[in-house]
Structures are given as structure tokens and as C-alpha cells.
Symmetry: D2
Subunit: 337 residues, 4 copies
Amino acid sequence: MTVRVGVYGATGYTGLELVRLLDTHPEAQIRFATSESAAGTSLRASSPLAPDLTLVSAADAPLDEVDCVFLCLPHTQSAPIAAQALARDVRVVDLSADLRIDDPDAYARWYKVAHPAPDLLPVPYGLPELGRLRLLGALCVANPGCYATAILLAVVPLARADLLAPAAPLIIDAKSGVTGAGRAPKQNILFGEVHGNLSPYNIGHAHRHLGEVEQELARAGYDGGPLIFAPHLLPTDRGILAAVYAQVTDLDAAQSTLRSAYADEPLVCVLPPGELATLAHVVRTPRAVLSLTPVPDANVLIVMSALDNLLKGAASQAVQNFNLMFSLPETAGLLPA
Amino acid sequence: MTVRVGVYGATGYTGLELVRLLDTHPEAQIRFATSESAAGTSLRASSPLAPDLTLVSAADAPLDEVDCVFLCLPHTQSAPIAAQALARDVRVVDLSADLRIDDPDAYARWYKVAHPAPDLLPVPYGLPELGRLRLLGALCVANPGCYATAILLAVVPLARADLLAPAAPLIIDAKSGVTGAGRAPKQNILFGEVHGNLSPYNIGHAHRHLGEVEQELARAGYDGGPLIFAPHLLPTDRGILAAVYAQVTDLDAAQSTLRSAYADEPLVCVLPPGELATLAHVVRTPRAVLSLTPVPDANVLIVMSALDNLLKGAASQAVQNFNLMFSLPETAGLLPA
Amino acid sequence: MTVRVGVYGATGYTGLELVRLLDTHPEAQIRFATSESAAGTSLRASSPLAPDLTLVSAADAPLDEVDCVFLCLPHTQSAPIAAQALARDVRVVDLSADLRIDDPDAYARWYKVAHPAPDLLPVPYGLPELGRLRLLGALCVANPGCYATAILLAVVPLARADLLAPAAPLIIDAKSGVTGAGRAPKQNILFGEVHGNLSPYNIGHAHRHLGEVEQELARAGYDGGPLIFAPHLLPTDRGILAAVYAQVTDLDAAQSTLRSAYADEPLVCVLPPGELATLAHVVRTPRAVLSLTPVPDANVLIVMSALDNLLKGAASQAVQNFNLMFSLPETAGLLPA
Amino acid sequence: MTVRVGVYGATGYTGLELVRLLDTHPEAQIRFATSESAAGTSLRASSPLAPDLTLVSAADAPLDEVDCVFLCLPHTQSAPIAAQALARDVRVVDLSADLRIDDPDAYARWYKVAHPAPDLLPVPYGLPELGRLRLLGALCVANPGCYATAILLAVVPLARADLLAPAAPLIIDAKSGVTGAGRAPKQNILFGEVHGNLSPYNIGHAHRHLGEVEQELARAGYDGGPLIFAPHLLPTDRGILAAVYAQVTDLDAAQSTLRSAYADEPLVCVLPPGELATLAHVVRTPRAVLSLTPVPDANVLIVMSALDNLLKGAASQAVQNFNLMFSLPETAGLLPA
């Protein structure tokens, strides 16, 4: 079986990773890749290791020739393309934030803009390890945010098992490589600004990924306290490490719950006791890696949750979702067969 | 007035910074600098920007020619030299951990070794902004640890004002540049291991700096809950950024307390509301910089506390202490007169 | 004596360094600093360690209140401001390329644009160690390019002493930190592009700094062969290291010539035999450091020439020139008095 | 066909890459991996992404169970193991320098130590693109040095075609990531020393790789002048970029010769005119990438030669050689089939 695919927004960091994955995916065939600024040139001109595909503008993309599109576009630009594709019976994996939040009002609160296509909502949230059923055969999937993936993998199993101390604040201190901020030139992500620096941003209860995190935690029965989220920009190119400080009602149960949750997952790994997750565990891999450190006196479990923001936080998770949508083996194109 | 000084352990990262500061200090005169491995060579051979001082071994250091020594030695090696110096009426700024903890048993618990010179204890803890009185004219001062300085600056004023929520865990997620791990070759601090990585270590309630932090918090009347401390090794050379998540009883009072505490301090700065502390605020400066982010729903104050681990976390704080010991202006040699 | 100064283009990397130097210069007083994009804000908002100066737009700069202006502006924008200032008897240190090349046609060839103010030409070329006389008391000085400074320091003394093999190509392989490319956002200087990379650019006989290099070499009597120049963008923020491969007629004479040339210079240092210049010798210092490695079989002298592109390659050299123009000690504001 | 292999010295940077490649090689099966310091532990403890192999000491390696061994050992330690293996009819790919130089006296000159096993010499030099015939079915191959590979790929075709200007010095300015210096802790490769620095080392005619380079150039009929080689340590983890400045007798012929030499090579690529080789072209790939920049006035061809020091400069080239020795497709395990 060959699934014909198109990639919108191929010259950004996520788009480049996605094209690379799809280019070697045994069941996918890339029919087009779009870029507004680089239409007419080869993708290789945008990145020396990319496949030699000639880019087209989105308006010229031959939607009729594909079975599925991946949208690596800015929010508000993505949903309209999703609507177009779905109207032509082309399936959609949307890597933007547009389809992640079921409630358009909540979207408007977090993104400060009216939802561009509320008729499309709700769409299954594509974090396979936390719920594959809705993804199998789905026509459209909302690919999660990178921070959201790291956080939800650490917290959802605890919420489902009702192991979080009621009303205790959930503190998440996260650190991301700079590619998480995209490839459009901005002064704060210049090499001269980032090298030698570490900078928190949007800390407290402000980062947009909290919208989808809170939605998915609510779905999991979360009854803990307020979320406190402090993201930081790291002086490295890729990778997220989130430290989740969870007050739990039973430290042993919390650990065994997380271990069981991912015991059979090929792409989420809980390290053995005593080992700590680092970026070196995950960068350039499609895996998330968790480590568990109990602090007995405080009934706090420190979950370190690591992933590559461009892969499990974006492109490889999109491929997992694609595989589930087309009933392919979930790790096709990601792990050796 | 000229104070004649000697520096033990001059070829490490802290020693090099200290020699650089003392070399341009208007009232200090370096009489000797020691190194066991590099004795007989110039300090410049250890670092191209260092002063051209010929190193001697500690055994050959002319203690009789100095008024004060700075000890940049490993713990257990430092206290015996301190004892020697004090016996000869030479004052001591000890940058090791040996003299920071008043109770030798607590030292033994944290450092897994018997205290090398318990007769010297207690010694004033040299964090001037939190207590200068004991440092003025002192004969011997224990220079605080780098993480400890960052944490205590953020928490002590809150503890003194009784603004911390009783029994709530105090969560500290800290990130340090690699020079914090010293200059002795070890595999985990090789460039090839650190570049592109971020790695937590000794997390939970395990890092040795907690010993001095808990002692000083107790002195400040701390009645909050257990400390949870997660240090991380950053892919940069210098700087510490500690995120302190403090549950407080009054967010406004907590902020005004911290602002007042440092309002007149030349070397500790609290940023205006809305600005966040970063490493770029502090690296290669003798200042600590704090920022305050209240999270109203959770009654949590996020204090970002930034400093240069080699300066306010070590060498420049040692110079502050030295200045106080010899009744010099506290910022002599650190800020323009 | 206090010289009142203004800085045009203060928010770029060079402007920030220059303001920092002038702010602590014992004889300079900053009266204004300009920025078009950030007018009305504090310079500190552009960089956390900058002085707290309120920026004005160039049109609002009070030229009548200053004795000297420093122009950290893009080429073609700089010369017209220089003309304005000179017309009002305000002296000028131009850090742009506009006034470095005496011949407007040569300027047009290298910069692909007509010279914006040919009437101002020629202007003394401000590389003090290679010719201070024209700078003493000058009304206007062209501050050299960063690469040009590194190259000329290595080659001019050899050319003057006629020690270069006639007609032999002069090969210069240079590497620069990313701040050399400025602070205006461009994709190629994003952290995500530069981290882990090394990229040559404009190699051969193409880089614009060759214009001024060839002019100054001609002035020095250079009769070697064609220049071959290969600059590279390094994954670091600042510093230039240029490897100059010079075929010489007498290796011993070449070395002693270079040593003598700088024997009494406080800001140019030739390392002793066996030591090699590195970026660590120069970054964040106002000095250039050279090392000499003879290759006897080939009659080639390898001169490694290192400097900080923002300091000796720009801002601190501008201060040297300023000092000479106003008959101040040349290292005022750069080295301890 | 399955070839059973063993890897000596698996915990160094090269060993780790090699194990990773062999672990997914379709025709190789790893039977053992050795380490003296980590014997008894899993290789994964040495690197989080490594296969979970239990390490043995070299003395315990079951040589009888393998068809081929790869030696990632320090020079002088490697050749004795090679001799042992060959005596038992086990083939050898030696990644050390021991077998690269045919003449034991030349080895002794470059390595300042007597050759440990002169009876094994000569051994085919394993740079497939410059001579596969001797490698096909070979029992023992000397895997080239990383710098040597980068240089020889650029120069040998020119030497063979007699296009180098007689007696003109050949200047090579090369830059390498820090993993090229190995994984054994040394102060000069600590993160704190390398970050923000660029340091030349062993420049002139001093680096040991010149021994093998000169041997292979002589074999190619080189009649140019002396080699001048200036390696630099870059602030990045991996990758080599060598700038070769070759005076040639015919610029067009030189370019077409290099293009033809690699026109059909899957693992050496010459970029189209106008593009420059960078580390981003090669890092984490098994390819070398060359770019050609003619400088007409000087008859100099600048060849930029880039490769990953751990792959085409070591481990992936070893796999190429292994494939040729066992008559497997040369890119097996390196490129998709």
C-alpha cells in the first residue's frame, strides 16, 4: 500500500523533519511540498540534507493527487487548508495549534484570535500513547504541541489513576532547544542572543500550550490544583526536557502507574530507577523518555520528560498519527521494521 | 591601605576569576598563588588572560607575607590550610564547603566524610546581603556555594517575613553552566558530552548545597515544607538560573518584601515587574538578578534568581567578604569607584 | 578634559560595545545614542547590561551638544551623517565601511553602490599600530573592518620590510564569530542554523574587506601576489582568528620584523615562539594577539592573528582612534590607567 | 550472508558510532564489544542511545566466534590485537593509525614510538573512492585518519592527473569538532575550555596525519611542494571542514577532474558551482562533500572538503571497507538499499 502525501510548510524546521521522515517511509510517497517564500526552488536549497523536491506554493498544490496532507503552517493559516483538504476527501494531520482545542472560545482566549474554522471541531488529539482508539482510521488529527506532549505523557496516567494530590499546584519547569521557536528570523533567536544564555519566557500560567494541556488533563479526570508552567529557551538547537513536580497521594503507585502505562510502548520509555532522562536520550530520535524520582518527605514525584521537539514533539508524532489513520504499523518509517 | 593576599588553588575556574579580580583590586596585592600540578609555571600558562604570576605549591606558600588568604581548594583540603593560616594570624576566605556548615555531623552527612577541622566551627556565612554584621572585621568567612547563594537570596527574605505557606514544599529547579563542575578532567564535562545536551543530576533532596541552604533557612525562621532541588547541567560555560516556586501567604507582601530587601544593594537587583531574569543579565558580572512572577490562582511566587557561578556564586562574593573583613568599601574591586 | 560624544546605531552589537566602553571612559561623556527602531526606549531594553540611556532617532540627535560622534550605521547611511557632523565641527569616528576606501570607484566596485559622500574622501584609516600620525588630532577617522584589522596587523609590517615573496599568492583563512554578521534578523544567523555548523562564505577574492586590505597593503609597498581570502562563520558569538600563510624571503627576518613592530604596543601582542593564538586570548579584550609559526621547508610563515571582532575589530579600536583624535592617552578607557 | 563481528574499544566516540552502524547493518551481527574500563556493564551505560550490549575486556573477547574485528583502539595497542586476529583467520579493520603507514621507520618518526607489529605491513589503505581494488576481499585494511580522508579526497585526483603546480606549497587549513580528540578526559577538551574558543594546534608540518597523507600523495604521483597543514579545534562536537588551497596548472581541468572522479560515487559528492561545503552538509551522514572555488588570478583552486570525523572520517568508512572485504554492496548499512 502506498499513501500519497503532501506537506504544507516544508521549509520550516518541522516541515524539513517531516519530509525527511516521509521520504524514507516505506508506505508514503511525497507528491508535493509547499512553501510560499521558496516556491519554484528545490527543498535542498533550504537545507542541505533535504530531499531534492521542487517546492510549490500552497495555491498550486495538487490536492487531488494525494490521500493525506500534513500541515506545518502557522496557526490560523492551517485550519482553512485543512477544511479545503477534507472537503476533497483528503485526510489531514494538522501540526499547527488550530485543531487541538475543541472549544473555539478557549482557542480565542489562548491565541487571541477568533478560530479560523470552528466547524471542523472537535478533532481527535493525536497523542497515540494516551489514546489511540480515536486515531485509528481518523480523517483528521490534531498533532499535539511539543511541550504539551512532554507534559501530558508525564501527567495523564497519574490523573487517570487519581493519584495526584487534590488541589496541589502542578509545577512544570521546561527547557526547549531553539528550533521550537521556528525558523522565521527574529532577534531573540539569533545565535548571538542565545549562545551562552538561558532565558525563561511566558512563565506562570501564560504559555499557549497550557490550553491543550488543561483540556486533555480535564478529559483524564485531573483534579489537582492550578498548573504552573515555566518554559525556558536553551542554548541548543533541539530537544525538550520538562521537569514535572507532582504531589501525589501514593509515591509507589504513581511510579508503577507510569511504568505500566508505557511498558509496551515502543516510542515512550520509562528509565529504570536511578537513571535520569536527559536530552541525549532523545535528540534525533522519535522517542520520549521519562525518569521518575520520588521525594518521600514531600510526597512529590519528579518526572523528567524528554523528547525531541521536532520529532516526538512534532514530525515523528505526526507520522505515528498518519500510520494510525491509514492502519499502518504505528512505528512504520520511524523504527526499523 | 594595601592588603597582602594569597590565593590557594589558583588554576581552577574559581581561582582564575579570583586572581583576576584581586589583580585589579585597588587595595589588594597578590603575594602568592598556589597550584600543586602547575607549581613553578606562570599562571598565564593555565589561562591566556591570567596575570603572569609564578605559581608555588601550597607547602611553599609564604604565609608570613600575607594578611589574608583565599582558599579555592577541594573540600577536606581547605580547612586544614585555614587552620594553619588562622594560627599565624592570617585571615581566611574559604571558598570550599568546609566551613559553611556549623555542625560537623551535618557536614559528615552531606559530604560523606568526617569534618577535617571541627575546631574552626562555626564561622560566619559570607552572604553579605543577608547578613553583613558578622562579616565586618571577621577573621574567617565561609564563602557560600553558588547554588546556595542563588536560592538563599530568593528565599531568606520571605522566610524572615514569615510569608511562606507552612509545610508547603519549596521547589527549586536550577540550571548551571559547566564551569560549576570544576576544571579537573572528567568525562561528563567533556565538550562532546555537554554540547547539545541538558542533564539533571542529584535531583530530589540530594545535592550537597542543600546542607548550607537548610541551615541558613532555619536561621531565618523558615517553617515551609521540605526542599526539593533539581540542578541541571546546561550547555554553556557559566551562569546559574534558579527557578524558585514558593507558595506564599500573601503574593503582594512577598514581592514587596523581596524588593525592599535589595532596594539599596549594589550587587543584588530585582527586575521591574514583567521582566524575567536570564543568564545574559549576570554572566561576567558580580551581580545577582532576581525577577518575580506571581501566579495568583496558586499563590505561588516564581522567583528567578540568576548569577554567575564563578563570580557572585564564588569569586566576587569572596571579594565582597574580603572587603567587609578589612573594612573596605564592599564593592571595591568589583564596581567602578 | 571631558569630551561629549554621541553614538549613532547604539542597539547593534558594535554600538552596544561602544556605549559600554564610552560609559566608563574617564574622559568621555555620552550625550546621546540613536536608534531608529527603538527610539524612546532605554538602551537597557535592547541589552540587559547596557547603560540606562534613552535612545533618540538620528533626526533628533542633538549634534550641537557633542564634540564627537561614533557612527555604527550600515554603509551608505553612515557617510551622510558624517558629512552633517563635520559641517557642524563635530568630529567623526565612522565604524561603517563608507570612509575606508579612498577611491569612490573602488568603493562602488566592492560595495555595488555609488559612494554616498565622495567629497569626504580621503579620510585617515584608523589602525593606530600601523600609522598613528595621521590620526593624532584628526577630525574624521575611518575605523577599519574587523577582518581587515586582523589581516593588516599580520601583513603590513612584512610588506613594509619587503619580506614577502614576490608574486606569491597570500592565503588568508579566517573564522569569525556570528556577531560579525550584525544583529538584524536573518535566517543564516539563527541559532538553529549556526549551532553545530561551520560555513565558509564569500571565499576567493570576493569579501568586501579586501578592498580596504588591498588599499592599505598597496600603501605599505606590497608586491606579493594575489590575495586569497576565505572567511568562515564559526559557531560562537565573537572573535576572529585569521590564519595568514605568507611566503616570505627570510623566515627569521619576517619573525623579528613582526616582533619589533609590536614590541611596544599595549594592544597588539606577539606570543612567544611555540604558543599559538586562540580566540581565548582575545575575546572580550581590546587586544589583538599574533602567533608566528615558521615552516622552513616551504619558506612560509603562518601568522595566526586573533582579535575580538566587536572590540579591536570595531568598538575598542574606535576608542583608540577617538583617544588619538583628542590627544588622550591611546588606551584610555581600554586598559587600567 | 551474515558476517559475525567484534568491536574493540566500543565506548569511545568512534566505537559507539561503529556499533550503532553495525547494529543495524543488514549483513553484520555483533558478537562482542570490548572495553577495559567498562567491562561487565552495558554499552548503554556509556551512551544512552547505544545498543544494550554487555561489554567484555579484550582479553575475554571470543575471537573464535567472529569473522571480522574492528579495532577502535589507541595506536600501539591496536596492531598486536590485529596480529592475534589475523593469526586466527579473523579479518581486521583497524581504525587506529598502526597499519596506515607502510614504512615502520616513517611510523616511528611520526608517532615517536617503535612500530608495534612491523610484520603486518603493508596493509591496504582503506579509502575506497581512491582505490577499491586492493580492498575487495582484503584480509586486513587500515582505515584512514579523519583529516587524511578529507585531504586526500581533495588532492589525490589532482595529483594523479598531474594538475598541481610543481613545487608550490599545498596549504590546508582544517577545522574539526571536538570528538576528534577522543573521549578520554583531558583538560583541553572540557566544555569550559572549548565553548567560545577556536584553537589551532600542531600547525605547520607537525600533525601525525601528514604521514599517511604524504604516503598516499606520493603513491598518486604528487610532485607539488611541501604540505602545510593547520588543524583547529572547533567549538562543536563533530565534523571536519578542510580548506585546501591548491595551485594548479589548469583551473578548468582541475575542476572537471574532481567532478569526474566522484561522479558515480554514492558517498562523495562535489557540489555544483557556487555552493560551498559546510558541516551541515555532512554531520551525521556517511558522505564527504566537496566544493570547488576557482581563484583565476592566482590559479588557485580552493577545495572545501567536509565530512563527519566519526563517520566518513572513521566508522562509516570502516563499514565501507568491511563491505568491500566481504563482497557486500559498498553502502550496505550506510544508505537505504
